[in-house]
Amino acid sequence: MAEQDRDLRLEDLTKRFGDFVAVRDLSLTVPNGSFFALLGPSGCGKTTTLRMVAGLEDPTLGRVLIGDQDITRLRPYKRPVNTVFQSYALFPHLTIFENVAFGLRRRGVTDYKQKTLDMIELVQLAPYASRKPSQLSGGQQQRVALARALINEPGVLLLDEPLGALDLKLRRQMQIELKRIQTEIDVTFVHVTHDQEEAMTMADTIAVMNHGVIEQMGAPGELYENPVTTFVANFLGQSNLIMTDVVDTAGSDVVVDCHGQKLGVVATRSHAAGRNAWLGIRPEKIYAGTSGDPDHVGSNVLTGGRITDVSFVGVSTQYLVAMPWGQELMVFEQNTGRRSLFRNGDEVDLSWSPSHAFLLDADQDAHAGMMSPEDRE
């Protein structure tokens, strides 16, 4: 095994099913040993991409490489890649031990017994080794699926919505567990999910996919703080998007006109080319102050807001603020207890730092990527 370069590379990968293009011209590099997430709504092509890496789907065009080895046309059972399937796909007629040992035995590893027991130990299932999968809980089955794939020391481990079937609490636990195991054994993980929180918690790098293409790729913080499309702005967390006219792009701050009020956005955070642009600002970045109060942190101020809804959610309070032009903006405030809550009808001014806002191309749908958790499935 050439240790120096085991990066997974996808080059101009395209997959068509009849007239439908599931994945379009996708190129990316997953560095060896990293935790990479493909994030997107159902039907965005993320699972198809994963299946092409696993060899379960043949690409229409393009190449899949691990290091220098072209594995595009290699049969699945000849690839140094293992998969944790969404349904786990545990063999129901075999015991946990036999399930985990399956890959080693197929490759003729002679000391598979000890290795299997060690792996079962690692995922803390030693007492269950002789049971059948149906006798285990969902979380335990999930760990068997993980052990069964990891024991083969794959160049790349593919995880297809591995936590989808677990309840919320167990999912949180497994997220931490997965991250721990990945750090310990230093294997490249490629994780497909529709759950943005899951992707942000675990991955070093996230590629947000939509309609078969990658909308944006980067570290979780980078994607969240500086999204380049409305889809990313809405799919990862929530954003307020306000239509503005671009006034001045010469300085270090781009100046926009928002319904008569001038606002600045740091130039590196502007991803708009035209005369109009969506100004984006995350709800928790906005400070709501009593109208006319000069105590504003940043230079960006929108005046004339009126509180129309107050939702107390414990750690924070979520306000809806109606602006003079009719749009309602979301504002989240930490419940530090330092000041009293606003009430419906209170007049407020909103302010934020120019380094927190972002500008997006006006051609895009402001609602792209905005969906309820059920729609994401």
Partner: protein, 302 residues
């Protein structure tokens, strides 16, 4: 075979049963009543009658009538005079079952995994022979295998058969008839079992370094064992008792137990012999089935 599926909710003694559940269980039993009544009239009663008949005094005759003398020796006499027919029956049925399995497995596999939108059409083709009578179809085989027929001529041309060799009136013809007539009973349960195998397991096996053949051997085949068991039983059991194929495609040299039972009942009117032969056949088949199912391991079947 299906008793396990049909049996109602087991009533555990001492289990706390609330009123609602108790009511539902009562209804469950009621659903069994029509079937039970039918079986009582057309199965239990005739079986008892058959057992009694097998114990009649063999010196009686159709004209003078029989008397029930609990003549157990009927069984010994029956075995002594016809044991070679039993051996032949199990041999023919066994060979036919194996051939059915070998022919049906690829067929059922193809229908389950490879047929795509042709699936239902192919299934209809499998059962299509049932639209014509069993007797007619077997008679057709006489023509197919006849001495001047195409199959015989072809085999003679290829020197697989000698120039005066024949197919009709040989064990080959009888077994071929059995295979043909019972193949749907093998194919359908096999298909049902294979179709239930989750294809994602096959993908998972491939992902874990199993070649397609190994994946089949380690995953698909073991999971579809229930289909093999029910298919072989559904083929072997009726084939053992069959007499039409031997009658129409064979000669007395190829006769099976069924032929002897048929002639004892309908031609010789030797009811005690016929009844004891029937019961022996039944007992031996049940015994073989029990051993077979035990060997294959019933827990794996569910």
């Amino acid at each position: 075979m299906t008793a396990g599926e049909v049996s109602p909710l087991p009533v555990e003694p001492g289990a706390a049963v609330d009123g609602e559940t108790a009511k539902r269980r009562g209804w469950g039993w009621l659903l069994l009543v029509p079937g039970m009544l039918y079986l009582a009239v057309f199965f239990v009663f005739p079986t008892i009658q058959l057992i009694l008949t097998s114990l009649y005094d063999p010196s009686g005759s159709f004209e003078q009538g029989y008397t029930l003398t609990w003549h157990v020796a009927n069984y010994g006499d029956a075995i002594k005079s016809t044991w070679h027919l039993f051996v032949r029956s199990f041999e023919y049925a066994g060979i036919a079952t194996v051939i059915c399995l070998l022919l049906s497995y690829p067929l059922a596999y193809a229908i389950a995994f490879k047929a795509g939108r042709w699936k239902n059409f192919l299934l209809v083709l499998v059962i299509a022979p049932f639209f014509t009578s069993f007797l007619l179809r077997t008679l057709a085989w006489r023509t197919i295998l006849s001495d001047q027929g195409p199959v015989t001529s072809l085999l003679q041309t290829l020197h697989i058969l000698s120039s005066d060799g024949r197919l009709l009136a040989t064990p080959v013809a009888v077994i071929a008839g059995l295979v043909y007539n019972f193949m749907p009973f093998m194919t359908l349960p096999l298909y049902a079992s294979l179709d239930k195998v989750d294809y994602r397991l096959v993908e998972a096996a491939g992902d874990l370094y199993a070649s397609p053949f190994t994946g089949f051997r380690k995953i698909v085949f073991p999971l579809a064992i229930p289909g093999v068991v029910s298919g072989t039983l559904l083929t072997f059991i009726p084939a053992c008792g069959d007499y039409i194929n031997a009658e129409l495609l064979g000669t007395p040299k190829q006769y099976m137990v069924g032929n002897r039972i048929q002639s004892a009942f309908l031609t010789e009117h030797n009811y005690p012999l016929a009844a004891s032969l029937s019961l022996i056949l039944m007992a031996v088949v049940v015994l073989m089935v029990v051993i077979y199912v035990r060997r294959v391991g019933t827990e794996e079947l569910v």
